[in-house]
Symmetry: C2
Subunit: 541 residues, 2 copies
């Protein structure tokens, strides 16, 4: 892999300017940072600002046979961060491409570049008085909207399935040509950003989770601000109760009663967003013993599992939804709901309760509700990301929850299950003992990303400053990965560490074909070698 | 194009048996039938029953360089019927592959083969007591579910966008290998049919509207029978009222109030499903003059435009939806609703009204409502198809509405617009004069296939037995096609007559790439040459 870097660097500098082609140690070290024990180290970092620059950059790379690895903002936490699959690739950092080309109020979409962050789009919509919300993930304010969409990430609203809510990709190919998916390649098309499939083969899918092109523009659908937003949450006291709740939720999702994604997190996953591992309480011992876990759960007013979702719509719809959900879960859980008005009142009363000395636990709970409620209406928050610092022994710095700035160690693994209680129970039966074997706490969420599919996110949080724990985390992740593949709960995405492992058979035509497509579109294997393309995995140099 | 047919025929006969490899004149003539003035004529017809047979058939075709053209049931009315894009291809008729492999009640999906018809799946669900509905199109009971899905057709329920509601394709490639999309290529995957994208590039789109593979199995999502179904319909008295109604409907669709597709048909399109052109009344003259049109519209109790949709859900949800829709359209139209109970009562009363001599017009309207209501809950009907016989001078045979059996002439053209009143008005302003110029009646529907996209279906109905009228119809279609392409209202699918015309520029990278993908996956161009692949359009022999 790889040709002669020096002449390419010279040409890139001519194209982008000196300042946007970095090969200095500081920059390379910065990009090599990872939430995994070891990141990969790039050969250089390029920071183009326009699509045309990307075209030129790619042509230069092709000519010199230098692999380049596009990242939108490099916030792919727990899945490889800003690192290429292998050492020595040139990072194509698209963060300067952060134009918002269009926001269409009537048709409720935005056209953006890969450098646009969740916070940026949120602020833009607010500043321009748009009555439109974006669907945000828990990946924090600085994460790229396009980056997440291309990895097929998910959020919290009825637009929670990001890939399905995007259309009209502009893609730079390995030879520097620009392709537009959907109708957009017809220069005058009126429906470029509102109808995903276009005419003829639908090619969006080729450029999601792939190394076949560099997406430089995309339409993303926005949620018109509803008449009412009603957040709901409830706790499932014990593990036993989870399967039946999942059955009920599936029925409500299938019936269109609940149109948003529903996130169900175990006690530890919720706790991890609020606090670090209780080092003092446990006198430094890991893993958490069950009695302490129960105590923490109780103190925080949590159940074994804790669900969050929302109703969006007219007053009547929201109220009909709430009643149906309540009926369905009656006798199993206590449904709590929150809207902006009630939340504001509670927040206003809080200082008074505090003065009377009775606000303590309620105040904690209330502080936890606000960022979660904000997520439901498209305000990014970094609170969820804080869970990545669970096993860190350093003081939690409330100013930044950036896992790389904090040196936090996490692996994320995200198997997809059919949305049944049986599948959920089976998964837990498989993964919890593995966490236990390696002395990690199982931090787990299960999200109903569609009515039929439940996506689990398993977090292996570890202390990166502890080499033994880091090694154990890697081993734990590997065993979890093998185990979910073995039973057919395939992840919806994987980190760079698993890119070689996603082909579990030499006779899998699917991956053969993905390799053939790579040969056809990028014969010199310039773009992101190894990414979601196990048959064309780069040889070690 | 094409190698030596005879040896291939021999090998196919060995594989499929004599009876399933047809080269006799009768069969070839049968398959050459078309709703267009001239169909294409196949060199042979193959009728495999299993996936393995398809693999062998394809391998034989590849070896002998014989183009084969898959059709599911051959009911692609108005878009080419069972005909290949060019003469001399071998039709691969998949209608014998009609197994229903699985119906999953809890997760609400079916796994079927391409020969499964709408009626067959409907009857199967009923016979096995499943509380699941399929979403049906107006293409009639004998149309293939998979065929329509691969062409990205649409129906009537919240699952109206068929392609988006399918997952896990089994695809035979040109070299006879079998690929499975989504998670299904992992042999043990648990979420093969419930999560569309899978891991890595999502390849479903490659095999919809394409000639890159033969889809032999697919998961299709079914709608759990809702607590309530409430059909709604209303008339817009004059053309002027249409744009504002479209604006309101978009808002309701975006707000999740209306979750089903909504079909809006002009007076003529509705009339055409109920009766032929009024030859007697007009003394044989065409086109219909405006006064007669108004009279017919009035007699049938229709508006200039006539909308149909439905609410699905709990009693409360349905009722909240009905109120919101009524409020939104207040002062513009009168909303009428229908459910099973009310429809039955009306049908029971009808004979009595008839006896009293006051049932005539109401009876007509009621007869029109039933099949439409049935469509809303997944019962296929051929009533809509009858519109294809609008210009036929033969007596309408109520036993069969098969356009080919009846020798009816139609072209369908289906541009996609942003769902705005402005776009709808613009389209009508462009296409209506073209219909008029060629002396055809504009039969038009506009369907909100998603919250943002309006798909228009323009029908050019003509008398196939009249050569001059046939020629005019072809010219009319061509001008309509040019006109919608010119203004950027690109069709969501096209018929075989437009496959060469979908590339409007020699500099369109999209079609270049589709050609490259073809070369990579089917280098000998065996599969359906010319279909959605203008850069690899077969040369005339």
């Amino acid at each position: 892999m790889g040709g002669n870097l020096e002449p390419a660097i010279g040409e890139w500098r001519q194209c982008l300017g000196q300042g946007y082609v970095c090969t200095d140690e500081t920059t390379l070290n910065h990009y090599a940072r990872s939430t995994q024990p070891r990141g990969t180290r790039p050969a250089a970092v390029l920071r183009p600002q326009t699509r045309d620059e990307v075209c030129t950059v790619v042509r230069i790379a092709s000519r010199h046979c230098i692999p380049i690895y596009p990242v939108s903002r490099g916030k792919n936490w727990g899945y490889g961060d800003a690192c290429a699959v292998t050492d020595g690739q040139v990072i194509l950092d698209l963060s300067r491409m952060n134009r918002i080309w269009e926001v269409n109020e009537a048709l409720a979409y935005a056209v953006i570049e890969p450098g646009v962050t969740q916070q940026q789009l949120h602020d833009y919509l607010a500043a321009h008085g748009h009555r439109l919300w974006l669907d945000v993930t828990g990946a924090g304010p600085d994460a790229s909207v396009i980056g997440n969409t291309l990895e097929r990430g998910f959020g919290h609203t009825p637009y929670g399935d990001h890939y399905q809510c995007s259309a009209g990709y502009e893609v730079v190919l390995a030879d520097g040509r620009t392709l537009t998916t959907g109708f957009g390649h017809y220069g005058n098309a009126e429906a470029s950003y509102i109808y995903k499939a276009g005419l003829g083969p639908s090619l969006d899918g080729l450029f999601s989770q792939s190394n076949l092109g560099v997406v430089t523009k995309m339409g993303v659908w926005l949620l018109p601000k509803p008449e009412r937003l009603l957040g709901f949450f409830f706790s499932i006291p014990e593990d036993d109760g989870l399967p039946e709740v999942i059955e009920r939720l599936r029925e409500l999702r299938l019936a269109g009663v609940v149109q948003s994604t529903v996130h169900i997190a175990n006690d530890l996953r919720v706790l991890s967003a609020r606090q670090s591992y209780p080092w003092a309480l446990t006198q430094g011992a890991t893993p958490l013993n069950p009695a302490v876990r129960l105590q923490l759960r109780k103190n925080a007013g949590l159940g074994a599992w804790n669900a969050l979702g929302a109703f969006y719509g007219s007053r009547e719809m929201v109220s009909a939804g709430r009643r149906a959900l309540k009926r369905s879960l009656a006798g199993m859980v206590t449904l709590k709901t929150v809207n902006e008005r009630r939340l504001r009142i509670a927040e206003a009363i809080l200082p008074w309760l505090n003065r009377l000395g009775i606000g303590g636990r309620i105040a904690d709970q209330l502080r936890a509700v606000r960022p979660v409620f904000e997520l439901l209406r498209g305000t990014p928050s970094s609170e969820h990301l804080a869970g990545a610092g669970w096993r860190s022994r350093n003081e939690r710095n409330s100013k930044s929850f950036d896992p790389l700035d904090n040196g936090w160690g996490i692996y994320w693994l995200s198997p997809v299950l059919p949305m049944t209680g049986t599948a959920a129970r089976a998964l837990l039966g498989i993964v919890e003992p593995i966490f236990q074997r390696f002395a990690f706490e199982p931090l787990i969420t299960m999200t109903s990303i569609t009515a039929r599919a439940l996506c689990c996110v398993l977090t292996v949080a570890y202390d990166r400053e502890n080499p033994a724990e880091s090694a154990a985390a890697q081993e734990c992740y590997d065993r979890l990965f093998d185990a979910v593949m073995e039973v057919g709960f395939i992840p919806y995405r994987v980190g760079i560490q698993s890119m070689a492992g996603i082909s579990t058979s030499n006779a899998d035509v699917f991956w053969d074909v993905v390799g053939t497509l790579k040969d056809a579109l990028d014969p010199a294997a310039i773009l992101a070698p190894g990414r979601y393309n196990p048959r064309r995995f780069p040889q070690s140099p």
